[in-house]
Every structure is written in C-alpha cells, then in structure tokens.
C-alpha cells in the first residue's frame, strides 16, 4: 500500500464524530453593516496609511502624473511595468528622468536585471479591501508576480469603484473562486518584520515603500 492509501484508509477508519453543519460563512458576513462609498474610501486610505503606505487620491485624468511625481520624489530612475492600459497611461506621464523597463519572455532571461537594476515596479490592483486596508493584485499573464515584489518601491493604483467592505464582499462580487489566476496577492503594507525583539522594521525582503494611488472622480480623502 502506498503512503497515500495508508493515510486515507486510517482517516476513513476513524471513529465517527458528531454531525457537522456546513458553516454559514455568507450569513455571518451578511449580518455586518455595509460602508458607504465615502466610508470605503476613507477607511481604505486610513488603514493603508496606518501601515505606512503613502496614499494619494487623484482624479482619473491626473492619477498618472501624481504617481509619476511620487516616483520622482523618491529618485526612481528605472520603473518596471507590464503592458496593460494603466501601464501605458503611466508611462506617458513619466518625466525623462524615469526610464521604463518592460520585460519580455520568461523571468530566466531578466531575473538579474530585475533584482539589480530596477528601482520601482508598477501593478494595478483589481480591488481594495476597506476592512483590512488591502489591495488585490491578480498576478499572472501580462502582470508578472515579481513586479510587486522585487523592486524596492512598489507603486499600486486602484479604482475607487473597485472598493469593497471586506474580503468576503470582494470575493463574492468578483467571483474569485470561479477563476483563480496563478497568483492572487493581497498587499496591505510595505514588506515588514518584527522578528528582532518585536521591533517593527520595513523592507525585510520585499518593497521598502508602498505608494498607492486611488483613482477617484471628484472627492479626495
């Protein structure tokens, strides 16, 4: 018998337990009160700022220049980005001092360049979660996972219409389980650790800085 068959056989031979109901996860989340659009925005911004993200709110026609300015302030010279529409808009708004880097083909061909020469990476988020101050990045395809991970500065934009109360809200409206990309990541701060004497330090392995631009029509937070 293989280890698999032995383990499964042991589990199947176990003493039966008391009957168990299917947990009512949706019911639990449905009982929680919903935030208004303004509250969603202000809570998301507050939570992200509390975890040391630099959050900007900008109008649809201004977000790219706001983002470009934030990069420039940090002395970013090389920005890695994908090929989506947002990336194209951002690239057009960059000053001459910031060079864009687009990686073609598999990581094996550009791993070292990414680790050693890129200052910042840009990734558009597909959702913002107000309850935890987190941003959803759907990595895979044209959006490599390493873009939000390896460069020391991570720039993320999110549309104000994609904000949700909590993970459950986002996962059910966007039907996450129906189509899982290779890598869904929820990010809530720059990389951090408290492994040395419970002292919080940033930039443990991933980005030291997280810049978030919320693209909102009209109001600011």
């Amino acid at each position: 018998m293989s280890a698999r068959d032995r383990i499964l056989a042991r589990l199947r031979a176990a003493e039966p337990g008391a009957p168990v109901a299917v947990p009512d996860v949706a019911g639990y989340y449905a009982r929680r009160s919903r935030l208004t659009a303004t509250e969603l925005l202000s809570q998301l911004c507050a939570r992200l700022r509390a975890s040391r993200a630099d959050v900007k709110v900008a109008a649809p026609d201004a977000w790219a220049s706001v983002a470009a300015e934030a990069l420039q302030q940090r002395g970013v010279r090389r920005l890695a980005l994908g090929s989506c529409a947002r990336a194209v808009t951002l690239a057009a708004a960059l000053p001459d001092t910031i060079e864009t880097v687009r990686f073609d083909g598999a990581i094996e061909g550009w791993k070292r360049a990414l680790f050693e020469t890129v200052d910042a990476g840009f990734t558009p988020a597909s959702a913002g979660i107000a309850a935890t101050g987190a941003l959803l990045l759907n990595h895979g395809g044209a959006l490599p996972r390493t873009l939000s991970l390896v460069p020391p500065v991570s720039l993320v934009c999110v549309d104000v219409h994609d904000l949700y109360d909590d993970l459950h809200h986002a996962a059910s409206v966007q039907r996450w389980a129906d189509d899982m990309p290779t890598n869904r990541v929820l990010v809530s701060s720059p990389s951090r650790t408290a492994d040395i004497q419970q002292t919080l330090a940033y930039g443990a392995h991933g980005p030291r800085e997280l810049i978030v631009v919320v693209i909102a029509d009209g109001e600011t937070a």
Partner: protein, 489 residues
C-alpha cells in the same frame, strides 16, 4: 536555557530543562515582555466581544466541517492541484517526507534551496536531512534565518527568534556574516539580512514553503506572511515545493476567509498581514514568472492518530496562530526551548503526543495548571484543557488496557504504586465506617505526618492534616446553634 539544536534535546528531559529555564532571569525577561507585547496586540484587534465570539464560532465551524470530511477533501484537493499541474506527494513519516524532497532535488540536479517559513519542515528536520546529503538549505524568514545562523531551533511557532535580544542578534551577525559590524540598530540588522538573502533568492534552484490553508475546491495554497520571503521563495526559484500537514485543508475559498481574519489578528495582532499569497498552480502558458514546476507534500506523522478519536480530533482544528502559547503562564515562564518539541506551549502539549508518542512526551500534558487561558483565546475554540486531561488519562492508563483507539505510548506514566494508592483511597472514601476511622486517625495523628511527601514537597511545605475535620467542625457548629436556639426560647 539550552541553546543546543533540538535534535540533541528531547521532550523526555522536559523537567530538567524547566528548572534551567526558570533559573535564567534574562530569558524570563525576554519572554515576559514579548508575551505582554503579543497579548496587547491581540487584544487591540478584538475590541468587540460579540463580533469576536461570532467569528470564533465560525472559525470553529469551518475547521470542524473540514475535519468531518477530511479524506474526501484531501482527494478533492489532490485532484484539483493535479489538474493545475501540481505534483502531489503523501508522506507517512518525517523520513518519507525528507526522502521525497531529496529525490525531487536530486532529479532536478538542485544544489541550493531557499526556504520560506514552514513549521512542517521543522517538524521533519528537513534542513538537517538535506544538508547531510550535500544540499544547501537556507531559511529566509528573518526569525528563522537568525535561529539557523545560531544553530538553534525556533522557540515560538510565529516568532521563531523571540528568545533573542537585539544584542544577541547583533553579536551573532557580527560573528557569522562577513563584513557585518556590530550594531544594535534593528533597521540596520534587517538590512544586513536582506542583503545576504536577496542574493540567495536569485540563485536558489528550489523554494520550499509551508501552507496556511489549502483550498480543495480551487486547488489553491494560501500563505500568510509579512516579509515577502514567502512570496520570493514561491515565485523566483524554478521549482516550488510546499509542505503541509494533512489537516490544513478547507473545502472552499469562502471557508478560508474567516480563518484569514482570525489568524493574523490572533497571532500578531494585525488586521491582515502584509501579504496573503494565494497560489493556484505553477507558471501557466503566457505567465512570465513563477516556478515552472510545483509540488505539494502532504504529511501525516501521527495526525491520523489524533484524527481516529472523536475527542482528540479537535487537536487538528489548529491554525497555528500561537495565541495559546502567548497566553500560557507556563510557556511565558519556561520559554519555547524547554519543551524540546517543534511545537511548544499548549498546542505542542496536545499535538506532540501524536507526533512523537506518549512515551517521549509524557510530561508535556502535565505542564499545565489547567487555567484555561489557552482555550479562551483559541480562535477555533480547541478545548485544550480537556484534551490535556484526556492525554493525562491515556498516559496513566494501564499499558495493556484495551481501548478502541489506543495511543502510541499509552500508559507511559503508569505506576502500579500510584494506582494502588488511588484504589485504596477510593475504596475507603466510598465506605462510611472506614472513612470515619481514617478521618479520626488523620486528625489525631497529624503530628506524625511525613516530612517528605514525594513530588509535593519538592517545591512546597509538607501537608499536615487539620486538627479537626470539616465534618467535626460542622457538627460542633450545629450544636452551638441549637444550644443558642434553646436558650432563646
């Protein structure tokens, strides 16, 4: 405190190490302040008791549901992972798990392994196994990296280097990392670690990680972390090997959501960790990065023994948040290394007997005052004190006694002498005549109570029976009352 690696100590020497740990004031200070810090952080995340209890109910319901369907869910997980191109392996023992991983490494010609945090890999002593076979295996979680550099083992399941001060770490880095001078500045220390490890992420052939929740429905592995080393380990190397205990599976993505809220809040007092990393298979056509091959190793190692018994099965509800140890008065005083097990504290006390057998772990279930603090904070409501009581019973059961689900090492603490004393006592206690006689003798002969009373007098003054028994006192009182009543009339 013993700074020896775990494989040189064993839970069987628990009592001896407890005395050493208690005498180490520095160590006690470190744990005291770390535990206070973690408790406060957790409390700040659960301000509303109604929400807290409802969410704990839900977390418990999710884990119970998963365990009730465990074999079917494991098969479903396996099928959905395989459909995504993940190779699934099953291991009964630590050795099997290590051998499996070694074979994957050899077949790929891999020399360098980088590891994200994985308690299961600690449990099977993977680093040791691979290093003995010439494969370089480096921990990348800052805490794990520190304890590996020091040649030690984690003393806490969430904060591995919690027993070390920044001065300890400053000295360690100065000694072990070429070019690192002495600094107590935490940012500088983390920066040093980051520099060393970044290079290694780039070079590694294999990344190994743990798993926090495995979602059967979608074949997704959900990893929870703050540093980004878990993401790097599972993204940059060409091969990713994930390891998990067979209990970590849940049915649907929706079921994982309450657990993903409970875990960071209970563990480190964060609403969410920096990263939730949900991995569904290796690099797909059209993806530019991510590992080209992906494996999952499912480990039993005694978990099916806990599973066999309907009461002990609750042990497997655990989501490894560490809150039970943070709130345990014993753990806070003796620290994690004293236990001599991969999992210290209350969860270790109820889990280790299944992983190692009661023979090796017989003293662990006794290291509790049964105060119940652990069960009060456990996000999935594991009734830890009653499981400890049950394990005490099993450790004291006669070795040959027949039970439906005998535990490995049953009767490890059994002593015929003790058994006879208890039998004598219960015999007397159940009979009026002999009990009165014993009571009379104990109160009248109290001056001859022995000075040395086995375990009791090791740390306490001897017990001496009272001059009058409660029965006698009550009788005297009743008589005084009725006397008074008579006088009033």
């Amino acid at each position: 405190m013993s700074a020896q690696p775990l494989h040189f100590v064993s839970p069987a020497q628990f009592r001896g190490r407890v005395s050493e740990a208690l005498a180490d004031d520095g160590l006690r200070d470190n744990f005291r302040s770390a535990m206070n810090f973690l408790r406060d952080k957790r409390a700040s995340q659960f301000p509303d008791p109604v929400e807290t209890e409802a969410l704990r109910d839900l977390g418990e319901a999710v884990r119970k549901h998963a365990l009730a369907h465990l074999p079917a869910l494991l098969e479903k997980l396996e099928a959905n992972l395989q459909a995504r191109g993940v190779e699934v392996h099953w291991a009964d023992t630590p050795d099997e798990a290590c051998a499996l991983i070694h074979r994957i490494a050899t077949e790929a010609g891999a020399q360098r392994v980088i590891k994200g945090k994985s308690m299961v890999s600690e449990e099977v002593e993977l680093n040791h196994y691979l290093e003995a076979r010439g494969i370089d295996c480096l921990e990348s979680d800052m805490g794990e990296y520190i304890v590996q550099l020091a040649g030690e083992r984690p003393s806490h399941i969430v904060m591995p280097a919690i027993h070390k001060t920044k001065q300890d770490i400053a000295r360690l880095f100065e000694q072990k990392i070429p070019g690192a001078g002495y600094t107590e500045d935490v940012d500088a220390l983390i920066h040093t670690g980051r520099q060393v490890l970044r290079e290694r992420f780039m070079q590694a052939d294999i990344g190994i990680s743990g798993v926090n929740f495995a979602i059967a429905e979608t074949g997704t592995l959900w990893l929870v972390e703050n540093e980004g080393n878990g993401r790097l380990s599972t993204t940059v190397p060409d091969i990713h090997i994930a390891m998990m205990g067979i209990e970590k599976v849940v049915d649907t993505l929706e079921h994982a959501l309450p657990l993903a809220s409970l875990l960071p809040r209970s563990a480190t007092g964060q609403a969410a960790t920096t990263y939730f990393n949900l991995i569904t298979g290796p690099r797909r056509p059209g993806d530019q990065d991510g590992p080209r091959r992906m494996h999952l190793v499912l480990l039993d190692n005694g978990r099916s023994q806990a599973y066999a018994d309907a009461q002990l099965r609750a042990t497997l509800q655990c989501i490894r948040c560490g809150a039970c140890m943070n709130h345990c008065p014993v753990y806070a005083r003796v620290g994690g290394h004293a236990y001599g097990t991969t999992y210290p504290g209350p969860i270790g006390q109820i889990l280790s007997p299944h992983l190692l057998g009661l023979e090796a772990s017989r003293d662990l279930p006794t290291a509790s005052s049964l105060c119940g603090a652990c069960a009060e904070v456990c996000p999935v409501r594991i009734p830890i004190p009653s499981l400890l009581m049950r394990l005490r019973t099993e450790a004291n059961r006669a070795p040959g006694a027949r039970t439906a689900q005998p535990l490995a090492g049953q009767g490890a603490s059994f002593s015929l002498g003790q058994k006879l004393v208890w039998r004598f006592w219960s015999g007397i206690y159940a009979r009026t005549g002999p009990y009165r006689l014993l009571r009379w003798a104990a109160t009248r002969l109290r001056r001859w109570a022995p000075r040395r009373q086995m375990g009791w007098t090791q740390h306490r003054t001897p017990l001496v029976p009272a001059a009058r028994s409660l029965h006698d006192l009550m009788k005297a009182r009743r008589m005084a009352v009725s006397d008074r009543d008579v006088k009033k009339m």
